[in-house]
Structure formats: structure tokens, C-alpha cells
Symmetry: C2
Subunit: 262 residues, 2 copies
């Protein structure tokens, strides 16, 4: 794979549009995947500022025009139905999970949609370096945890940081940090290595989102800031309405991962 | 200088507050300098989106609350008078240059101020690597040029990219690119190396902003995206009111340059 084939990204989106419901880690390798959150126009300033103030968990890669379901990251895509699974939030409460968000999208004419970098983007270079990505190897969703770390508030938005976790052999942890640091637009270097208890994580086998993964002897849990953080902000800040992706069920773009490497 | 002394940043700001009018390159070495633009609240969304869509020239490092002249990047600073020189823009036209913006700031109660990364931040690591920064060596302002490259528009804001230029010996250009690439939050890697004519720059000795510098035999002009780009957007887009720094006359923060290194 010298240059990934753009047809694979479009094909993956069509599969999702056609009804496939599955975590997207490992799908269309080499193409950037994104977290998504749609909010009424009235909340857009607060959210864009929340992203600016919290660039590790919320790196904003694109913002739609109000009411649009189109993004420059994949011009042919329809954001309302090309993700495998959506969540609908009303007053901060998760009310529906849907494979197609077209109908709920129509409830608000002025939704502004934010696409946010996802750590799946740097999983390809990790695997190319021979560092196993456990949830890909196990064929499950990445484990994600709500932490005790407050994000910097913006307007009405506040909440705590969510992290994803990948177990890494102790002698490869520095390399995993170095490789991912090169991708600051998609969460970048780990925010925390080892010591889950200081992040407020009591039990790694019980993630708040996604699936638990096996941690082998000699492996260290490595934590990256996670684009589910906006959903934690929705739960804490209770905007009247929001549509997000379901954790791990991302939007697949046409943009090669290499675009984000510094 | 293992760790720069924060007192030097505060002292430099006080000098500016006291009336010093001079380009800030080389002042308080090791501390992040910022471009500044203040706009009425009504234009803030457009500008924050402009920054998100054009992260190379407009990397937003902080945003104030409406009406506030305080920033988290230097909590004791007063943004209205701690820069050496300000520019006031009315309907896109430069109308005043002022050493103290307190009075014009008071014309609008709801100004939102954006602090934007500045390439002076990576000049310290360039000089530490033994790459001379010509405008610092010559004791003048950095040369800046308006290019023929359109920024991605956002709402009412549009305009072309401005670049700064540093001549670098041909055998050090790759190193200059590598060093600065590590600082994506402060313009990062060059956008263009050599060939000024393809950027629409007819004569390097006549910069649009700042001062010309000597280019020696065997040196190549290296161009970095520049935080004067918002001023080009003001000229092109004509918001009713804006206050900016004067090119090269930056806001000196308390944040060590190392914070932006990936």
C-alpha cells in the first residue's frame, strides 16, 4: 500500500449506508476516520471554541455550513447516513441509536456538524511498525474511559476528557508515543502512560464505551485523548439536541492518514 | 538557557506597555509570541472558522471572552497595551497605528480577541541549530509577502495567504524544514521553498510588510505561512472594525516555546 486506493473509503461508506453496523477500526486502512457531533447553530460557537481550547481530545478537522450534510473531507458523502451508527441526544440524555440519521437530522434546519480527528488514523502506522493494535487483532471496539480530567470549558460547554486505551509491550511504549506524536491533528501523543488509577479509571476491564481488551503480561496501558469527549460534554452540559456517532463507529473520509503527519 | 525565565516575558511586555515600539523578534527568547486580531462578537464565528479552515497561516492559540482583554497565555497581561504597536482597521482600511489601543478598544464593548501562533517561536530552535535568522542578525523586522494563494473562505471572511521569508543556506534548508515542522501550532513546516515567482512574489527586496533582508549567494528563500494573513483577510473582507498587532510587533506570552513542539 504505497498510496491507499480512494475507492476503498467510498466503498466502506456505502457499506455503512447500506446497513452495516460495526466498529470501523481497521476499515479502509490508510484513510482518516472522524468523530462526529451535530449541534444546533446556537451552540456552534461554544463547540468550536471548546475544540480550540481542548485540541488534544477535540481536534476539529472540518465544520459544515449550517444545515449542510456535506464535508470537504469526503465531498460525495452524506453525513446523515454514511456512518454505521448514530446516537441522538436530547437535553443531554441518549434517547436513540440509529443506523440512519436522516429523519432526526430534519428536526433542526440549522445543524452545524463538526468532524473531529480519531486515533484510528494512527493505528495504521502503529501496525506498520509491528505494534499490535489489540482491539483490531481481537476484532472488537476500542476500549474508552471517562477520566477525572476536566476539559477547559467554553461558554455553556464543559465536561471531562475521554481516553482510548491500547496495551503496548513495555519495550515498544516509547516508539508508540513517538509514532503517534507525529499526528497532532488526530489526538497525537498519549496523554497518559500506565497508572490508570490516577486518571480515575478503577477497572480497565470495564470501559465506559467500547469493549474491554486483553492486557498481556509485560504490557502497559497507554491512553490517548479520545473524540468521544464531545459526548461527555453533551452529557454534562445538556444542549437541547445533538447527533453524534456511536463510539467506535466513525465517519470514513477520503483523506489519506499521511495528510496529518508532521 | 535550560528553562527560560518567565520574568523576561513579563519584563518585555512592560517595556512595550511603557512605550517601546520595535519588532519583537529576538525579544524574551524561549517564549511564544502571538499575532493578534480583535473583532466584534458578530464576526467571531467567521474568524474562528477561518482559523480552523486555514490552520497553517491562522493557528488559533487562544480566544478571549467577548469584551475581555485577558488571555490564559499570559494571565497578567493587558492585551490593549502590552503589544508594541497596534493597527486599527475600519471597513477594511488601516486608519490608525497606535502604541496603546485602550481607547479604541473601548469603542466596541464585545470585542473577541484571537491570539495566533507566530513563526518567531521556532526561530530560537533554528538559531540553536546554528541556522542564522537573518532579520534577527540584521536587527530589523522579518520580510512578509502577500501571495497569490487563496485561503479557504469562512462566512464573510476571505483573502490570500501572507508568508514570512527567511533565507537559508541550501545545505541547511532540509534541516530548517524539519526543525520547524515540529511546531505545527506556530505555522510549522515551510509552505514553499525557493521559486518566489510561483507564489506571486515579483521582488523579494520589496516585502509587503516588514523589512527586506540580505540574501547571500548559495542561500534559498524559505517561506512560512504568516499570522499577518488575518490582516489580509480584513483588507479583502472589510469587517466594520478590527484591531490587530502591527506586523512583526507581537504579543509576548508566558508560554515556553517548547509547549508547541511535537
Amino acid at each position: 500500500m504505497l498510496r491507499p486506493d480512494p475507492a476503498t473509503a467510498a466503498a466502506a461508506r456505502l457499506q455503512c449506508r447500506g446497513g452495516l453496523i460495526a466498529p470501523t477500526a481497521g476499515m479502509a486502512p490508510g484513510f482518516t476516520q472522524c468523530n462526529m457531533i451535530s449541534l444546533p447553530r446556537d451552540w456552534a460557537w461554544d463547540f468550536l471554541l471548546y475544540g480550540q481550547r481542548n485540541p488534544k481530545p477535540c481536534p476539529v478537522l472540518d465544520v459544515t455550513d449550517p444545515g449542510s450534510h456535506r464535508t470537504a473531507l469526503a465531498p460525495d458523502a452524506d453525513l446523515r447516513r454514511d456512518l454505521p451508527l448514530y446516537r441522538v441526544w436530547r437535553d443531554g440524555v441518549l434517547t436513540e441509536e440509529l443506523a440512519d440519521a436522516t429523519q432526526v437530522w430534519a428536526e433542526h434546519a440549522d445543524l452545524v456538524t463538526f468532524l473531529i480527528g480519531c486515533s484510528f488514523t494512527f493505528e495504521t502506522p502503529l501496525m506498520q511498525a509491528g505494534i499490535e493494535v489489540r482491539h483490531v487483532a481481537q476484532g472488537c471496539n476500542v476500549p474508552m474511559y471517562l477520566t477525572n480530567r476536566d476539559c477547559r470549558p467554553a461558554g455553556r460547554l464543559h465536561g471531562q476528557m475521554v481516553v482510548s486505551m491500547r496495551p503496548v509491550p513495555a519495550d515498544r511504549v516509547a516508539e508508540a508515543a513517538t509514532i503517534t506524536a507525529r499526528f497532532p491533528a488526530v489526538h497525537g501523543a498519549p496523554v497518559h502512560i500506565g497508572s490508570p488509577e490516577t486518571l480515575g479509571i478503577a477497572d480497565l476491564s470495564k470501559p465506559d464505551f467500547g469493549d474491554p481488551v486483553q492486557i498481556r503480561d509485560g504490557e502497559v496501558p497507554v491512553f490517548w485523548a479520545c473524540g468521544v469527549t464531545p459526548q461527555a460534554a453533551v452529557m454534562a452540559s445538556k444542549p437541547p439536541f445533538a447527533i453524534t456517532h456511536a463510539p467506535g463507529h466513525m465517519f470514513i473520509t477520503d483523506v489519506p492518514d499521511s495528510q496529518w503527519q508532521v
